[in-house]
Symmetry: C2
Amino acid sequence: MNAGPILVTGAGGFIGRTLTQRLLGAQGGAPGQVTLVDIDLSHAPPEARRIEADLASPGILDQALDPLPRLVIHLASAPSAASEARPELSRAVNLDATLALFDRLAKAERPSRLVYASSIAALGSRFRSAVDDDTPPRPSLTYGAHKLMAETALADWSRRGRLDGIALRLPGIVARPAQAGGFGSGFWSDVFHALVRGEPYAAPVGPEAMAWLMSVGACVENLLHAAELQPSSLGPIRAFTLPALHVRMADLLAEIALQTSRRADLVSFAPQPELETQFGRYPPLATPGADALGFRHDQSLGELVNQVLEDLDG
Amino acid sequence: MNAGPILVTGAGGFIGRTLTQRLLGAQGGAPGQVTLVDIDLSHAPPEARRIEADLASPGILDQALDPLPRLVIHLASAPSAASEARPELSRAVNLDATLALFDRLAKAERPSRLVYASSIAALGSRFRSAVDDDTPPRPSLTYGAHKLMAETALADWSRRGRLDGIALRLPGIVARPAQAGGFGSGFWSDVFHALVRGEPYAAPVGPEAMAWLMSVGACVENLLHAAELQPSSLGPIRAFTLPALHVRMADLLAEIALQTSRRADLVSFAPQPELETQFGRYPPLATPGADALGFRHDQSLGELVNQVLEDLDG
């Protein structure tokens, strides 16, 4: 891991908690080197420096960027469904606070490595055929629009040599906390929780729904890999769709049922066309750019489910 | 032309002046229906309502949007070279003031038709092959990055039904005023001025440089066509690369020389690699989306040069 101060925004969130644990382990617990920002850091390891506040509050950015980090992992985000319901919230968090962070880093004495958690929502959901690195991004949610705008700003500051940025478009990360809310794609996580608990659940898509999925463990590995990439390995393209498993709902249910010894038919189907269109119609995905840089998915549906069940158990 | 108030930003600029003349002609000079905003409106027709101020100044947006326009043509922009030299200027004009206009319109009681002058700079300049509507935009200048970000916001407000927006990616528009400055691509205009005056000129690209060009007359026709499109003819895609003639510098010089009875060798070549890469390496262009909606280029190099020479004469 790069020597020098590290800043993690959104450190109290679902991905942030797992990342923080890995990061402090890898650092050998060097005190004061890792700064965490989030409105709730009650789960954060004590050896980290904690700024328990909204990144957009006055003065918080000053505090977070002193000392100037060598590495920033920017996870703070308003989630997709909340962003769609309140576009002004998405504007404030996903665009304004994000651009403010980028601009402040761009004015510093030296460029920081910035790993930005973007989303496949930047690509949209209206695909005519398989998706690859040349698919033009056409967001179909405000969340994705703001992610794409931030990606564009990050690439431009990187081109100008003022940032050393890389945006990773995260696929559906499982398993988010049960009923976490805020994420329209949350049902892909809720099916795990239902089967683990042996409770019935009505999925809002049909058994043929398709998603791009990744375990939170693999997601954190990819974020840390992005943090360590040599600047020389990055060209003008600074946004990468991560590799992900292309998973059918029926296959996912069968695999979870197998590994948990539950009955897959605990999950029934009550498709909502709007949700199915936005979050259940993903075509095959090719990610040659990210593959060449060494980013990886979970390798198999069995390994993905096993990893998720271990995380839920831990 | 749509009945109801019309607002034109950047109305004092190169395209804005020609547009304003056409618009007031088409309106039959209806007083008070056309509001113009720009820092210099000394060339504006007297029958228009004039707000001589920076669109980003406090209170100007309030003034410009009362009464609420049915049609907004947003031309105000910091040009490409100036934006590259001063990214904070581009941020203020091309992003912040533009998003503020969009957001204010999106909050109004009914959606306005918004015609936004975007640019081929949103696509970038690193093309592996011919460009079409599926080419992923990868801006290579801050100007283009901010244009792309604004396009993304416009599409999202339109998807939400709060705006009825259409962004036109303008190609190189000729002939800008001589030595206008601020536009890196200005040499494609300067060759016209040199030959018209019979003066020597050293072009900063070679004779094989290629551009996508359009006369200001055709550009204004396309902006007015966008203003009149039926909302039902627009789907989720709200940014269109306009058709343009694919012109080689040597062919352009020969045609201007022919029509002005000058010697083409008044223009010599002193290629600057950076300018040639950004503004002289355009591949063939296909624009099926814009073509289907009825947007048009100048049809032939002869007609383009003839139109430009008429404009310069007028």
